[in-house]
């Protein structure tokens, strides 16, 4: 089947989720839409089970931290429709006070570890996840290291200050 155009994809999403799913970009032809945490599972299920779209493949699930935004943590899903060879990117913004989002692991088994990784690094809590533990970091870690405020190196180190490099 031929590739689904972004306009058609957006149209179908709008037919089912009027006004709740909005386009935020289409960098390099990859349609990016924004959903919210109330409807994200319906959106994902719709995209997966719709006869025409068939986004049956969860390529990737991760998050991004934007400290200057109101919704600081953005969870990003990449889906792939293998029959039509179309990709879509879905984003859900979360505030730091309420980092809960429903799990996608009931829709795709593969979401399990990707969500654990996202929890591990950003502290996003996936409600209904069967086993939400840290995965790559040690269990007794107390911080979420991929957040921007977490420094890469020990801030007390002096031997790498800009001063020594003429900056």
């Amino acid at each position: 089947m031929a590739k689904i155009s972004n306009e058609e994809l957006l149209q179908r999403l709008n037919d089912n989720f009027a006004g709740q799913v909005t386009q935020t970009g289409a960098d390099f032809g990859l349609l990016t839409v924004e959903a919210n945490k109330e409807n994200i599972n319906e959106v994902l299920s719709f995209l997966k089970t719709d006869d025409v779209l068939q986004f049956i493949y969860l390529t990737d699930l991760t998050a991004v931290h934007y400290p200057e935004l109101e919704k600081q943590i953005v969870v990003v899903y990449h889906l792939h429709s293998l029959t039509t060879n179309t990709r879509i990117r879905i984003k859900v913004g979360l505030t730091l006070e309420d980092l809960h989002i429903p799990t996608a692991s009931a829709i795709w088994d593969g979401a399990n570890w990707m969500e654990r990784e996202t929890y591990d690094f950003f502290g996003v809590i996936f409600d209904g996840h069967p086993d939400l533990r840290r995965i790559l970091n040690v269990d007794d870690m107390t911080v979420f290291p991929m957040r921007k405020e977490f420094p890469l190196e020990d801030p007390n180190r002096v031997d790498k200050k800009d001063y020594f490099f003429g900056r």
Partner: protein, 403 residues
């Protein structure tokens, strides 16, 4: 551990025994730990623990300029680092909208396919070792060495290659490199044919691998599997064919698929992929001969690091060198997802750029990480010895698993 029931008495008749498979067991080929509950030789349940060699590449990448991220990608799947390097270069080039000359594309294709062969040599060779046949591994290993010598000729290093630059290659392939590639194309098919003759219809090997760890296509897709192990279940998803990058659309090759999704199918798919890679390299060599011989990078001085002799003798080169190294080149404010077909599956780079010197956020979609999560669930009810060869055939590379 907390998922397992705790037994207090030690009666083997009534209770399961706990077995730590790994983290440093010779049969696991890397730092993987699985805590298994065993009923005799049979696995009742298991829990995978990963992260032993987590090095925070995504965090480090947020503090490094683009060209310094290439060495980080080397250390993902270190059995086929050139594919990771090229994938990263192509991601940045997609972001910057740089078109490569055809010759560079073909040079990249040669390197990537050699890397794929090197990776499959290891995987299939070691699968033989785990089933008790050491010979095939030793036959094949000699030719991985030949591939490494080709890398050495091209970039100077062997395992963590750091081949190429953003915008092309740092130097042209020299005549010795071409000679070595041609020699490899003559010598390797002989050994691969011998290897297949040794295994494909070998009664012991077939008995050990057929119908072991069979996975249905539906399960594999639900677990987001990709690469040879997905194709072994019958799904013909190959990024090279679906979304051609680096001029793969110019090549005539097939995407081999299996039937059962068992260890034996995966073995056959990988062998067939090596034949297809050889075909691609042959075509690429023929195509390169029709291109001008002195082109090995795109004409993008603002992003391609100039050669050192230019930097010392030429004003423009010095300026560009300074601008690139100090990160004073403007880059677009955009998000890009670029996927390449790694040796283990879809290797994706999700790059968010804010115009700064380093990525705002870089996420690696690592096939080993995603492929490995079915390991513990699928081991249920399996014999321990089958679980070992299942792990070999998944070809999980610890560097890519943990990033």
């Amino acid at each position: 551990m907390q998922n397992h029931p705790v037994y207090t008495d030690n009666d083997p008749q009534t209770e399961y025994s706990t077995l730590n498979l790994g983290p440093t067991h010779p049969a696991t080929h890397g730092v993987f730990q699985n805590v298994l509950q065993m009923d005799g030789e049979r696995i009742v349940s298991g829990v995978s623990t990963i992260g032993y060699i987590h090095r925070a590449f995504e965090k480090i990448a947020e503090h490094r300029p683009f060209y310094q991220i290439t060495p980080l990608t080397d250390r993902l799947n270190y059995c086929s680092s050139p594919i990771n390097n090229m994938g990263w270069h192509m991601t940045v080039e997609k972001l910057l909208d740089i078109q490569m000359p055809k010759r560079v594309d073909y040079m990249r294709v040669i390197i990537m396919e050699l890397a794929r062969i090197a990776d499959h040599i290891i995987c299939n060779g070691v699968l033989g070792v785990d089933t008790g046949a050491f010979t095939g591994f030793l036959y094949m290993m000699e030719h991985r060495e030949e591939i490494y010598e080709i890398y050495e000729e091209i970039c100077g290093s062997r395992l963590t290659t750091n081949i190429g630059r953003i915008g092309g290659f740092e130097r042209n392939f020299n005549p010795i490199a071409f000679a070595k590639i041609k020699k490899f194309l003559v010598r390797f098919p002989v050994v691969l044919r011998e290897f297949e003759a040794l295994f494909n219809r070998n009664r012991i090997f077939v008995d050990r691998t057929k119908d072991v760890a069979a996975v249905t296509a539906a399960d594999a897709l639900s677990y987001s599997w990709s690469g040879p192990i997905l194709r072994a279940t019958g799904v013909d998803y190959d990024v090279r064919a679906m979304e051609p990058y680096s001029s793969y659309e110019d090549f005539d090759f097939e995407v081999p698929v299996g039937e059962n999704g068992d260890v034996y199918s995966r073995f056959l798919v990988r062998n067939e992929e090596m034949w297809q890679s050889l075909r691609i390299i042959e075509q690429a060599l023929a195509k390169i001969e029709k291109e001008p011989t002195d082109i090995f990078h795109a004409d993008v001085p603002a992003f391609y690091l100039p050669p050192k002799e230019e930097v010392y003798n030429n004003m423009e080169a010095l300026i560009y060198h300074f601008k690139i190294v100090m990160g004073e080149v403007d880059t677009p404010n955009a998000e890009v997802y670029h996927a390449v077909e790694g040796a283990n599956g879809e290797l994706g780079f999700y790059l968010i750029n804010d115009g700064g010197r380093s990525p705002y956020r870089l996420h690696f979609r690592r096939p080993s990480f995603i492929n490995y999560q079915m390991y513990a669930p699928m081991s249920k009810g399996m014999l321990l010895s089958d679980a070992i060869i299942n792990m070999s055939s998944l070809n999980v590379i610890a560097g890519e698993l943990d990033a």
